[in-house]
């Protein structure tokens, strides 16, 4: 065992070579440091995300009868896909997505264009616009529900007015969808679904605006000005210069909206509870009712695998686009 004096002198003599010592005498721990740093994060992700996903995949091939678990192959998928509740909620999700994505992208693009003029108050405007983003789905749903509660909501009288909504006026929370134009396709959708689109767009708008604004700020000013000198009007400048340049970001925004739109369920819970009837029962809400309402985990897992495949496809497409953007 070294004496205190020995260690002190040893230390001074080695310290000037300390950087070399590191490379020569790295211990086992130092050499494998990256592994130890990664391990906890990977462990949590595997336990909370990978294993449950695989387990859901496994559950989708099982059925539960009187406590027994039986392998049924793809029967759960057949039963889910052939049910009318599935096709209805697929259409609801589709209508919801089209409205939600279009509304948010257009409004976000317009607001980002204005903010990009570098008004002195732009930071203030962005902050104000961003407040909805920080609210939870449940809160947003509840806020919009309070607007339209029968009789006492601030907008209820407006919707109940027969002059604006013939023939009898509507009440968002109770008026069912009009009779379908095509059998089996719930079109036109119920007022509640359209209202849900507005509530969701309100919450998603800030993030999409910020995303588009960030992209607009990378478009060089010289380019816009030279287009103006060449005689392009404002619309043509947007159409032929701004739009193509920020297209990759718009597509990222589109996929982001689709993902949150397919997966979001909190707002349906607090705004409509899936109703009236099943008018706002989107896929994610149907998944909840099958899995946790009826406790049919096999079929719920089958539906969730279907949704996971949609999501993963979208994510991979986003990756493709953002990578090709980086190479360009």
């Amino acid at each position: 065992m070294a004496t205190p004096a020995g260690t002190a002198s040893g230390h001074t003599s080695v310290s000037s070579y300390s950087h070399r010592r590191h490379h020569i005498q790295q211990g086992f721990f130092s050499r494998t440091l990256p592994f130890w740093l990664l391990l906890p994060a990977l462990l949590v992700i595997v336990v909370i995300q990978v294993i449950p996903a695989l387990f859901s995949f496994f559950l989708s091939t099982q059925t539960f009868e009187r406590g027994d678990q039986i392998y049924v192959g793809l029967r759960n998928f057949e039963r889910v896909f052939s049910s009318s509740a599935f096709s209805l909620s697929l259409f609801h999700t589709l209508f919801f997505l089209i409205g939600y994505v279009a509304l948010t992208l257009i409004a976000g693009f317009v607001i980002a264009q204005i903010l990009n003029r570098k008004l002195r108050l732009s930071p203030f405007y962005i902050t104000v616009i961003f407040v909805p983003w920080v609210l939870s789905d449940v809160v947003v749903g509840l806020i919009f529900r309070l607007f339209i509660v029968p009789d006492y909501g601030l907008f209820s009288a407006f919707f109940a007015d027969p002059r604006i909504f013939p023939p009898k006026g509507i009440s968002i929370l109770t008026t069912p969808a009009a009779p379908a134009l095509i059998a089996g396709v719930p079109f036109p959708p119920a007022p509640a679904l359209i209202y849900l689109i507005f509530a969701s767009a309100w919450k998603a708008l800030p993030f999409i605006t910020l995303l588009i604004l960030a992209a607009l700020q990378t478009v060089s000013h010289e380019l816009i000005e030279s287009a103006a000198i060449d005689g392009a009007d404002r619309w043509r400048t947007v159409r032929y210069i701004t739009f193509p340049l920020i297209l990759p970001t718009l597509i990222v925004a589109l996929f982001n909206l689709t993902l949150t739109g397919v997966n979001g369920v909190g707002m349906v819970f607090s705004l409509t509870g899936g109703g009236p009837g099943t008018a706002t029962e989107v896929l994610s809400y149907l998944l909840y009712t099958i899995g946790f309402g009826r406790l049919d985990f096999g079929r719920a897992a089958a539906l969730s695998v279907f949704m996971a495949i949609i999501n993963l496809t979208l994510i991979l497409l986003t990756l493709r686009i953002s990578r090709s953007e980086k190479e360009a």
Partner: protein, 318 residues
């Protein structure tokens, strides 16, 4: 010819002077419309029961009996808040009151515990993993990062079906099973992949030369990470912390499905529960929204730049 050029430049200049006003005006209108739902909710939360049940509804509870608007006749009320807080006089408590409403005594404290401990864990783990992805080159690095990104594409509900059954199995297998811990670990797993990417992109902006200099001065990789890199990466770590905090605070469906014990429920569950509990107590529901949302809105207003940066980084890099 000359005069038309002059005229057009005059129009151009007038337009330039006018344009900022136009755009500012447009933005003020947009901001107002965006804020209407929030403002109306605040107003509703300050009315009493008779005023929320008026038909036709009134925006301000300030009309006199003959229908005139009069500021001195305003009937502002905190009934909505007191019905949630349920204050009881208690000489031993701070301020002489204790609050026994479930939202303030159970749900909000639980959510605070989940959000703080969950996001601390996310920040530490994402800091470690993000450092490795930013600094070390090893086989499978790119594949591993893409795999982590792809995992964010698995819908929450897909995992929740399995996680719910895993929770049930755990409860049966271990009598001393701590539900709170399970929920926190689940939240960490949900928010970790995104945070790793955000933190990694922040680490990428720190020059490697700083660390190399610290090695020469005798730092080990671990002490260099803690003393040199972590302080420089503080903005990135802060944004990972804040994003996860807001995410966990606002999360509803996982807390709703995974928490069985009534004493461990979250604030979002409590708010959802209120819808059935206060069917016509609209002022109570509005007050609940304000109470649950206020903490994260305040945090957002203080750290808005950090949020903006993290969001753009996360979305575009990812």
């Amino acid at each position: 010819m000359n005069s038309t050029l002059f005229a057009s430049s005059q129009v151009y200049r007038a337009r330039r002077r006018l344009a900022p006003w136009l755009f500012n005006g447009a933005m003020i209108v947009i901001c107002f419309f965006v804020l209407i739902p929030v403002l109306v909710t605040i107003l509703t939360s300050l009315k009493d029961q008779t005023d929320v049940q008026r038909n036709p509804p009134v925006l301000f509870p300030c009309d006199t009996s003959d229908g005139q608007f009069n500021l001195s006749a305003c009937r502002w009320s905190v009934e909505g808040y007191t019905r949630i807080l349920e204050p009881r006089p208690n000489p031993n408590a701070l301020l002489g009151f204790e609050y026994i409403g479930r939202m303030i005594s159970v749900y909000l404290p639980n959510t605070l515990i989940y959000a703080v401990s969950g996001s601390v864990l996310v920040t530490v783990l994402a800091g470690m993993a993000g450092y490795v992805f930013s600094r070390y080159r090893f086989r499978g690095r790119r594949a591993l990062m893409l795999a982590i990104l792809a995992i964010t594409g698995i819908p929450l509900l897909t995992n929740l079906i399995a996680l719910y059954r895993m929770g049930v199995a755990l409860r049966q297998a271990f009598p001393g099973y701590e539900e709170r811990l399970y929920v926190i670990v689940v939240y960490v797993g949900f928010f970790l992949p995104f945070s790793i990417w955000v933190v990694k992109s922040f680490f990428d902006t720190i020059p490697r030369e700083l660390e190399e200099a610290s090695f020469i001065d005798g730092c080990t990789p671990v002490s260099s990470l803690i003393r040199i890199v972590a302080p420089l990466a503080a903005p990135g770590l802060t944004s990972a912390f804040l994003m996860s905090f807001v995410g966990i605070w606002n999360e509803f469906i996982a807390g709703y499905l995974l928490v069985g014990k009534a004493t461990l429920r979250t604030a979002m569950f409590g708010l959802y529960d209120f819808i059935g509990q206060f069917v016509i107590g609209y002022q109570v529901l509005a007050a609940g929204c304000i109470m649950v949302a206020a903490p994260v809105v305040i945090i957002f207003l203080f750290f808005r730049k950090t949020f903006f940066r993290a969001m753009v980084e996360g979305a575009l890099k990812g």
